[in-house]
């Protein structure tokens, strides 16, 4: 037969020699059945033993054992610790229980057998598998994985039952093989509790013999829990046991078994006590001898162990009244002399007793195991195990009698099982643990019962988690859940609480019933395990249930049952909680809708909206029908009746302009200035100012879009707007309150178009700014120019306009004059307010540039332009005037906005900070004094700290709120009507009716007031007349206003939260794609952590110097991230300690003066951190599938390459700033000269702007872009994948065509 030339590779000859088939069982988790299958094993002789140079027969492997170095048997050298000169073969139970010990770098030469590793892998646990893998794949550990199941010499015999393979025979066979294979030169230690018990070697010194079966049982239980099916485990166990008993009875296996029938676990202890002890001592002593470390101290340790053992055995013998009947039946094991079988305790305690690190870890592992077993026994009734809730009647009775308390549950983000309920009187009760929470979830209104005082916890031990609470959220919004002030604790409860306060105890409580379930929607996704199980199955119509994990860490996992789960794989879901049965671990819920794939920007932003409670649907048809029937404003004709009713301000002397951010489409305010003749009166009202001649009068107007004209009260459109309440601005979209026709066109005060407006016109003295008259009313305006902030600023400063920003040359001088007047007026008003105690607050507004897909590419902080403050001040002026006007008109129904003075307690953080700066806050005096001292402190501090102070003060402030004046009786709440932050007696929202519903209401009230009654000036002029006039009718009754105000407050809060969450999300996404280093200021120290502030993003956060295990995390010296899995680094970090200095007095709330990281062994100080220190912090974000990205801050040492790079860049920027400042000045001069018109000597003003901003921003942008181009791994990869996929389909098509054609 002719062979043609072959293309493609030929197969290598098969290397296996023999095939064996074993009968095994496979458990199907989904169908919960056990199926029997045949498992093949191909046996071979080419499996390397991994012993490196010792073994000549096997090819060298990469992770290799290090037996060679001690081949001579001499004692190893000192500094690297004792070398271990034997091979260690742990069994599955030892692997599972002592994984932590095996992970220590000291432990080497471990041979992990596939038979044992696979037993563990069956039990599941991804993390444990990864750790196991690290054991044998890390080269530095010198451990190997040996596939004993497929080595011809060690494989179990064909037809051997699974039980036999499980019973450790495989382990022994492998041990003997190793001993033989390595020429009987090295001792082999098999560590196995089961084998030790089975072969009569009693369990070790400290633990009694009975401990072994107990442990075994506990281990078995644990395994069962992992396999999630106790019955199966029991079944398999039973199979194992019966077969062992059988083989033991028949004696077929050739090894000597313990004579007792239940030889699996229990028999060995009592049976072979004395001889067993001797055997074990021999074993250990022999082993130590062979290790060459049998010197004095170790021998001593062994001696001790032996003594302890003997004492114990004597005790045992006494306890067992009978003499030892079976001692004779015990025969020494027929094993190779170099193979030792030891129990875990005997091995780690006996052989490693002299290495404290190993012994310590082993002890702690044992302890936690024992504790677990104990706890498991205590509460182990499975299922939910919750107590029933009280009936409603019982709860009401309890609440009425004061035996129960009520409050809203808020679960801690950091500690999952802990929650706080704020009850009256500012007390917070702690609810700890799932049983105490008793099926209540975050946000529920619950009835709670105080626990007896013995179960209260010390406040001190709680301090740590409470302090770290801010880490999870980006600068967690300090909207502290206000205490529900209605249920004052009474009598006994109050006394107990008072006692608690005195004793520094944190009272704890338990939930006894749920008064009202939280009814929000939950954003979640299917848990990864369930998703994997689902994906591996075929789509079916069977109803199945999965566990869903909410994005919000505070909410519990939910069980979701559905027939269409396959559709939900990898999707963000919106769920609603249905209930929580007493017997089940998790609550159950149902699917509301699917948002979209996980990690897509759109669905994550939608998720933010859902979880912050913003509802958005398209406008209803009925609402849209109420709009004017036009497509755009071009078709809209102003009806003559309106023309007649409105004051026409379209004349040439009204120079109306709007000033807004670039790209603004919903312009709702415009400004105008009209210079009046000396003699003329004001245009609109009575001629009050006419008498004062010789003074320059000016009319300043604020014109607000007349939304209430289009949105009639009581209509569908009105109710839609009321339901939305506010426009929500997200990074990628805007959720409008009004349809686009109104918000972007008909109402928007665009340049050059006739628009309806509601105007406030002040007639002022141009020099003293004394108000002569105020006029309110509906007007018709035509905005001359739609200016941008920077454009207006340029005009004000007399700078040449930027391209695209030109205005008619004729108007320029007039505009400039007007703007100058406005600037002066704003400055005047602002000074007045500051004197009255206004507080200047600050918060960063981040802006994101996004690419085509919507991924954020860069972030910028909004630049502050002086013009913004001017416009804002004018709006405040208008709001205040309107607020006063409607209050005088409707003292019982006006919608105002107030800002209560802050609570003093909220200021402790700021106060401490300011005190450390040497500018203590005036917390005792009036609000004005507080504001003044705050301003003084901020002024004295360096810029970064100043912005920190302002930011902290912002957080300390109470929230401003809408309210109906009729609700305020007396001065409850201390706030009255006034606005603390702005220092105004009356304030309302009037100037943004396009995007806020409150303004629409205020517009209506104002217009009603103007139509009905005399103005403020008139009222002041004739008090007598006022009484005679009929009281005006408010457009809405007071009760309606107050209910609307409540809704508005709620909606505003949710909108703000959504905006912030969205902005955080984008920031984190950006940091996830481009981690980078920023300067941060330390503003507070705790015992183990520090609080830092990043001026660039106005970001506050906690950096913990220890991780969750309490291991120190020093500033990063080099490398990307510390690797928790790396045992060598871990060992280094374990040796470090965080020392808090200046805590000697340890008074409550006192901060340490310095934190130092000290090497415990040498006392060398690695790093020290003081308050106000500037540090480099690397910002990044962890992508978590379930919870979305989370901020990670890592302290960098100054020597870290990235920190150095950042410092260099900063220095370079600073240098460039000087140069570019000069360059800019000359450029500006040249430009001015080129224009030929040098408006004023103020052209040298550039210096007043922070110089170098442009250069720095450019450099930063370029750097980010470069990094994005270089890095961008995720997207690039998906693109590559997409390309590959399309190439594949093309190729297949081509193949098909070639084949068909």
């Amino acid at each position: 037969m002719v062979r043609t030339s072959r293309q493609g590779p030929e197969l290598p000859p098969a290397g296996w020699l023999e095939r064996r088939v074993h009968h095994t069982f496979r458990f199907r988790k989904r169908s919960r059945t056990v199926a029997d299958t045949g498992e093949e094993a191909y046996l071979r002789v080419d499996i390397p033993c991994g012993c490196g140079t010792v073994c000549a027969a096997c090819p060298p492997t990469l992770p290799a054992l290090t037996l060679a170095s001690i081949g001579g048997g001499s004692c190893s050298s000192a500094e690297s610790g004792p070398r271990q000169a034997h091979l260690l073969l742990p069994d599955a139970a030892a692997l599972r229980d002592c994984l932590e010990v095996l992970e220590l770098p000291e432990v080497q030469n471990v041979v992990l057998l596939t038979s044992e590793v696979r037993q563990l892998a069956d039990g599941g646990g991804m993390r444990r598998s990864a750790r196991l893998r690290a054991l044998f794949s890390d080269r530095r550990r010198h451990n190997v994985l040996f596939d004993n199941l497929h080595n011809r010499e060690t494989a179990p015999a064909a037809g051997a039952a699974a039980a036999e393979r499980r019973a450790g025979l495989a382990l022994l066979t492998a041990a003997e093989w190793y001993h033989e294979h390595l020429g009987r030169r090295f001792p082999i230690v098999v560590v196995s509790d089961a084998l030790a018990a089975q072969f009569g070697v009693p369990s070790a010194a400290p633990g009694s013999a009975q401990q072994a079966p107990q442990q075994q049982q506990a281990a078995g239980q644990q395994a069962a829990a992992e396999a999630d099916d106790a019955e199966l485990e029991a079944l398999l166990h039973q199979m194992d046991m019966s077969s062992i008993a059988g083989s033991g009875a028949s004696g077929g296996s050739g090894t000597v078994m313990d004579g007792t029938a239940g030889g699996w676990g229990g028999g060995g202890g009592g049976g072979g006590a004395s001889s067993g002890a001797a055997a074990q001592d021999d074993a250990i002593a022999g082993l130590l001898d062979s290790l060459g470390i049998g010197d004095e101290p170790v021998a001593g340790a062994a001696q001790q162990a032996q003594q302890a053992l003997q004492a114990q055995q004597a005790q045992q013998a006494q306890q067992q009244a009978q003499p030892l009947p079976v001692a004779a039946s015990y025969a020494p094991l027929d094993l190779e002399p170099g193979v030792h079988i030891l129990s875990t305790a005997a091995y780690w305690g006996g052989v490693w007793g002299h290495v404290p690190a190993v012994a310590d870890v082993f002890d702690s592992v044992q302890q936690s195991k024992a504790q677990e077993a104990h706890q498991g026994g205590g509460s182990g009734s499975g299922g939910g195990g919750f107590r029933p809730h009280l009936s409603h009647a019982a709860m009401e009775a309890g609440l009425a009698s004061g035996a129960l308390l009520a409050g809203t549950l808020s679960v801690s983000r950091r500690v999952p099982g802990e929650a706080i309920v704020a009850v009256g009187g500012g007390r917070q009760l702690l609810i700890s643990g799932r049983p105490a929470l008793n099926r209540a979830i975050h946000g529920d209104r619950v009835a709670i019962r105080l626990l007896p005082q013995e179960q209260w916890r010390h406040a001190a031990e709680l301090a740590a988690p409470a302090a770290g609470d801010g880490e999870a959220a980006v600068a967690a919004d300090g909207a502290a859940e206000a205490a529900d002030g209605e249920d004052e604790p009474r009598d006994a409860v109050a006394r107990m609480l008072a006692a608690a306060a005195a004793d520094e105890l944190q009272p704890t409580a338990e939930v006894v019933g749920i008064l009202q379930r939280w009814s929000g929607e939950i954003v979640a996704c299917i848990s990864e395990d369930d998703e994997r199980a689902l994906a591996s199955k075929q789509a079916s119509d069977r109803q199945e249930s999965v566990l869903c994990i909410p994005t919000d860490r505070r909410l519990p996992k939910l069980r979701l049952r559905s027939r269409q789960l396959h559709r939900l794989l990898g999707q963000r879901l919106v769920l609603r909680l249905d209930g929580w049965d007493q017997g089940s671990h998790y609550p159950h819920g149902h699917l509301v809708r699917v948002l979209g794939p996980i990690n897509s920007l759109r669905s994550e932003t939608d998720g933010v909206l859902v979880s912050s409670g913003v509802h958005w649907q398209p406008f209803s048809e009925g609402a849209l029908r109420e709009l004017p029937p036009v497509a755009s404003s071009a078709q809209y004709v102003i009806p003559p009746a309106e023309l007649a009713a409105r004051c026409d301000l379209r004349g040439p002397d009204y120079l109306v302009c709007s000033i807004d951010p670039p790209g603004c489409t919903d312009v709702d305010d415009a400004l105008s200035v009209r210079w009046l003749d000396h003699t003329s009166g004001s245009s609109g009202g009575s001629g009050g100012g006419g008498s004062s001649t010789g003074r320059q009068l000016v009319e300043v107007g604020v014109h607000i879009a007349d939304v209430s004209y289009f949105v009639r009260q009581g209509g569908l459109l009105d109710s839609e707007a009321a339901a939305r309440c506010t426009t929500v601005y997200l990074v990628d979209r805007r959720l409008d309150m009004l349809p686009a026709l109104l918000s972007e066109d008909l109402c928007s005060l665009r340049g050059g178009q006739d628009r309806y407006a509601v105007s406030v016109l002040w007639t002022l003295d141009a020099d003293t700014f004394e108000v002569q008259d105020v006029w309110f009313g509906r007007t018709l305006i035509r905005s001359r120019y739609q200016l941008e902030y920077s454009q207006a600023q340029d005009i004000l400063d007399g700078h040449p306009p930027k391209p695209g920003h030109e205005v008619a040359a004729a108007d320029r001088p007039a505009l400039q004059r007007n703007l100058e007047l406005l600037a002066a007026l704003a400055e005047h008003r602002r000074r007045l307010r500051i004197e009255a105690g206004a507080v200047e607050l600050e918060s960063a507004e981040l802006r994101f540039n996004t690419d085509a897909v919507g991924q954020p590419t860069t972030v910028t902080v909004k630049q502050e332009i002086a013009m913004m403050k001017i416009v804002a001040e004018m709006m405040i002026l208008a709001n205040a005037a309107v607020g006063q006007r409607i209050y005088t008109a409707f003292p019982r129904a006006a919608l105002l906005r107030r800002h209560p003075p802050p609570r003093r307690e909220a200021f402790t953080e700021v106060a401490a900070l300011c005190e450390s700066l040497g500018r203590p806050l005036d917390l005792e005096g009036s609000p004005a004094a507080l504001a003044a001292s705050l301003a003084a402190a901020a002024a004295a501090a360096p810029p970064a700290v100043a912005s920190l102070i302002k930011s902290l003060a912002t957080r300390a402030m109470s929230e401003a709120e809408y309210f109906c004046t009729g609700d305020v009786t007396g001065l409850r709440g201390g706030g009255g009507l006034s606005h603390f932050g702005l220092a105004l007696p009356f304030y309302t929202h009037f100037t943004s009716p396009i995007r806020r519903y409150a303004d629409v209401v205020v517009h209506r009230q104002l217009l009603a007031a103007v139509a009905a009654g005399p103005g403020l000036a008139e009222a002041a002029a004739g008090l007598l007349q006022l009484a005679a006039l009929p009281a005006p009718q408010p457009p809405l009754p007071g009760a309606d206003v107050s209910s609307k105000a409540a809704v508005m407050n709620e909606r505003h809060r949710t909108a703000k939260r959504a905006q912030k969450d969205c902005s955080d999300l984008y920031l984190l996404l950006l940091l996830h794609a481009q981690p980078h280093v920023e300067a941060a200021t330390v503003y507070g120290l705790r015992r183990q952590s520090l609080l830092v502030f990043l001026p660039k993003y106005h970001l506050k956060g906690v950096i913990h110097l220890t991780d969750k295990q309490g291991v120190c995390r020093p500033p990063l010296e080099q490398g990307a991230e510390d690797d928790a899995a790396d045992p060598f680094e871990l060992a280094h970090r374990r040796g470090l300690a965080v020392v808090a200095e200046g805590l000697e007095g340890s008074a409550e709330g006192q901060q340490p003066s310095q934190l130092a990281i000290v090497e415990a062994s040498s006392g060398r100080q690695l790093a020290s951190i003081r308050p106000m220190q500037r540090m480099w912090v690397r910002l990044s974000a962890d992508g978590s599938r379930v919870h979305g990205p989370a901020l990670r801050m890592r302290l960098l040492a100054d020597s870290h390459p990235e920190a150095q790079a950042a410092a260099q860049k900063e220095a370079a920027d600073a240098a460039a700033a000087g140069a570019s400042g000069a360059a800019q000045a000359t450029a500006a001069g040249a430009a001015a000269a080129g224009c030929g018109a040098l408006p004023r000597p103020g052209a040298a003003r550039p210096a007043y702007r922070p110089p170098g901003i442009g250069a720095a921003a450019g450099a930063r942008a370029a750097r980010l872009e470069l990094r994005a181009a270089a890095g961008a791994p995720g997207r690039a990869r998906t693109e590559a994948c997409g390309a590959a996929a399309s190439a594949l389909s093309e190729q297949i098509e081509a193949l098909q065509q070639a084949v068909l054609g």
Binding site: P12, A35, E40, Y42, P48
Partner: protein, 293 residues
Amino acid sequence: MEYVSPEGLRLDGRRPKELRQLKAELGVLASADGSAMFEMGNTKVLAAVFGPKPIENRSQEDEKRCLVKCEYAMASFSTGERRRRGKGDRRATEITKAIRNCLEQTILVELMPRSQIDVYVQVLQADGGTRCACINAAFMALAAAAVPMRDILASCAAGYLESTALLDLNYVEDSGGGPDVAVAIHPICAAAFKPVAPLLSNLQDSGGGPDVAVAIHPNYQDRVVLLQQDNRVAIETFEEVMQLAVAGCRAVGEFMRQQLLEHTQKLAAARAAGEQQAAAAQEDDDALDEDDY
């Protein structure tokens, strides 16, 4: 679950490029014209061929070619969970068609006009790769029935798990979610390369992973007879997996050739022995006759 250990061993002890143990036995059924038992590891398939014979249903008669009928079934005890599997389910129909398609391309159908060949394939034990084992078994049975064929028909699957191309997946590996390419080839045919339409379908195997099935005629420069794939694969990966599957097909083809040779030799030996015996018997008879006389 780790499919390939750090030392490069698969769960059952094979290396990535090793086939499972192959076993073939011809003439296992007395009633069939040709029969074969084919084993790939734990996968065990019985095939029986009846024909060529006059066509049963005259309406299906073809003047030019013979009709190949095929029936595939899985024994209810073939998998761990004993479940009755109907013949008409989607998967069975699809595999039936794949097998028939391969056989039609392999049998010299033009030589036997107006006749019919029935092929029955029964999976006795399933442990991954049943499709390929069925094709191989059917081919062996056809050969045992002495049906004229173009070439050996060899089939084998390969997959890709943990960034390693694996040959001849067993059930556990097949369920691992990786791609799985099944190929059938004509390993020996050296005539002019004439591609045969491969059957491309996106079927779901037990696992969720891609699955490519290929059959080739090795003699026509590895003419590909069948190529099936489950799940999506990157194109580079596909090349690698495909190459491996084809190499596996060639090895399987070689094995089958050996088996056929041995079988033929055994037959020849048996016939020679039979003839001798017959001759001896004749002689005996003659002797008897002579004695009689």
